[in-house]
Amino acid sequence: MQNLMLSKIVGLAASVCFVGAWTAFAADKDDFEKFREQAEARKKETINKLMKDQAPAIVTIEFIAKESIMGQEQKNEMEATGVMVSADGLVLTANSRLQGMMSMAMKMAGGMMGGMMGGMPPIQSDTENLRVVVGNETVEYEAKLVARDSDLDLAWVRIVDPKDRKYSYLDFNDAAKLEIGDSYYTISRMAKRFDRVPTVGSSTISAAIENPRPLLVGAGSFGSPVFDSNGKVAGFIITQPPEEGESEAVSLDGLMTMGNGFILPAPKLVEALKQAKDAKPTEGK
């Protein structure tokens, strides 16, 4: 009799535990779903906010890349994404974006191409006829390449005649800080035939490097700004080709990492921007 009572008590206890566990599990599952939905909603909200608030500052730079290869001149019409960084028409882009295709390929392949093209004179590349297109406007604003920082892969283009217009711009002074593992967003613009619609990409900071300079590593199109998961600007995507004199052994890994974006944190950008704002182009060719 006592045994029966004991077994009933154990059975009841087990049932209670089981129901409790099941309930807890069910509750966790609901919470997880809620959490996931909330995260999705937040993400969507952030992206919409980026589109609304930040995308207007993302512009397109059209230019002619003139390259002289073994005495033969070649011109190509090209485009690059840029970021308006001041209300009076100063635009930031990646310096490597303003190169001709051959120059860019040579630079990115570095030592490998240097070996293949050994003995050949370097490709002379010039950027001409720059124009800035704001959003999807049909007007092209004449612009000049006013400054660059080849080490940091930055270049600044200034609209020649802003006509008292106040452009939407990104303020890198008030920036977020990203670390390894953080998610981030980028914005760029699609090509003219797609109405230059802004497009948002997302990725995760996968590494941090110190050499050749302190940079974060992620994916993204160089020349695009980077925002944290709350939509606050955090940095700018650049590229880091091998430096002159450096060669690298050809490796598949190396080729794969060519596509990686290197993110220059905002504070470094702000330092460079201070110098660039006062820079003027010199009389050239």
Partner: protein, 708 residues
Amino acid sequence: MGMVCSRKGFRLSGCSAWATGLLALAVGSVGLANARAEEPKAKSVTAELKDAIARARDRVFPALVSIVTVREYQQNGRQRLARSGGSGTIISEQGHVVTNAHVSEDGARFKVILSDKRELDAKLIGEDPLSDIAVIQIDLSKLGPDEKLPVAQFGDSSELDIGDYVMAMGAPWGMSRSMSLGVINNNDRVLANFFMDDADYEASLNSDQPTGSYYRWLQHDAAIAPGNSGGPLVNLKGEIVGVNTRGSFFGGDMGFASPSSVVQDIAAQLVTGGEVVRSHVGIKFKPIKTTGHDYGVFVNSVDEGSPADKAGIKPGDLITAVDGQSITIRYVEELPELMRNLSTRKVGSQIKIAYERDGQKTETVLTTEKYEKDRGDREELKKWGFTVQDLTPRMAHNRRLPSDEGVLVTGVDVGRPAQKAKPPLQAGDVVLAVNGVGVVDLAVLMKAYQQSTNQDPMPKYVRIDFEREAGRYVTILEPKDEEQSERPAELAKAWIGIEVQPVVKDMAKEIGIQDQEGFRVTRIYEQTKVAASDLKVGDVITALNDRPQKPRSDEDYAAFQREVKKLDIGSQAGLTVLRNGQEAKVSVELEPAKKTIAEAERLKNRDFDFEVREITFFDIANRRWKPDTKGLLVTEVEQGGWAGVGHLRLDDLLLRIDDVEIDSLKTFKQVMEQIAEKRPEKVRFLVLRDIETRFLFVETDWDSLVVK
């Protein structure tokens, strides 16, 4: 005499040996005597040939000239200049020089170098692409008052036989007054490939200009090379029997010359009238070899609207007689004679043609028309950003255009007004009107262009009506002067005026610093802040501001300066160095990085067609020039431009122009503007080339600079 054979070979008996020896001696003596008797003959033949060659040479050499052509060509919407060379022969005391049309083609300027090495200007009298013959005329104004030019005579090429000696004279690869000897290999060569259809052969020579269709060639093996073009083929009498026109790099020395029987007549027509007037019938013939016919000549194609078309002749007809004379063309070598027969008729002649169609015989009469110029003149519209060519009836016909009215767009310069126009112009478009005013030909277009671009300011927009693929379009372009592209300022970074090499562990051991890694100073630039410090070549920098400096690899040359760039300009950098095994501290003030060669400013001069750039600190250091060296480095020279023809070269350091020292781009710009105002005939450049100075006397041609 007997011979005994043994296993060891032949063995002769004693007596027989003597007898055999005497016999051999006798035979040998007779042979030797004969040979010696032949020697004078052979020698005399050789001497005669040598004398004949010398006589022939001396009759023509004095009249042989080298020709330098500055030609204009179009490329990607721009008109450019190039220089090319050929040969020619003076054929009249008035200074007429016969050469190839492909030597004079697109020539903007000509220079002739006489046998006594004097250089004289020349002008084009006329050129005939169909025979590839041209005549230019030397400017005699620079000759002495009683001076007469040496003149060469034409011979009769129809007297040539296969095997006859001929000499090719000219300037192969630019080596003037060269001569080679050969023989005639074939005296009625038609240049057709075995594997090509005969009409394809014609088409392959250029649809607008079928050179070589009307004539047979003299094939010979006197060595010729590029530069021989236009030079004479000479017989042993010292007469011009041909003009060397083509060579072949395959199958040994093969040269092809236009026979003098053709050249003399063509040259005379060019001298008299500036052109060769030919009749045009509009038929492309095909030999009957593969057609299954036994007689006649096959009609491959009939030009629309041509005399043959008007007379009712159609492709596929078999022509059997011309003006009552039966005709059979079995092989391609026979075609040129027929075509020449027809083309040399007077324009407007009536020709009776008998032909068969689907087995039916019939006759017709066609009236010849003038064979029109193949290609129109070309121009560049620089401020509108495209190049054009006048449409000839032939060009219009080949493109199936409704008429030859309008001007063909041949190229569009990327980034310039025509390419930025809405919609952009493209090569192949035909300009029909400018600002609503019809453009019938190039002259009208150029007038409209100059009127528009001479306005100050230029009109903001120009409307262009054009045809493209049978559609009629309108575009608006914004004329623009050519822009000078600008160099952006490179943001200043801190720099120490040294070069270093990475020192990794293995090297560290070898240079006696054990496991210490760092950067070994290989060079200290003069005239820098660090040159005034205690740092020495050979020091190994192991730390910068107490921060260890370790190269990542033995190729990590840039790492040290990369660290320096992170510091502030004007601040003191503390270097920890190893010197002779001992550690030392060196303090260096950081200065702004010097401008690199890539950042050097450049300036182009369009009149003389060359570009210069400022010299940089690194130019002076790397070339070991004196620190106070001034000048501008030449970075581009257009081959056919004044500077190029005047022998200015890439990498020359331009020191002076006339009497003005060139110390900056600003001075250069000012001097060139003054020269453009004064328009001198010659400008003197002083350059440093390698380690020597050179004076270059650059000739100008201001009249050739039309407002474009």
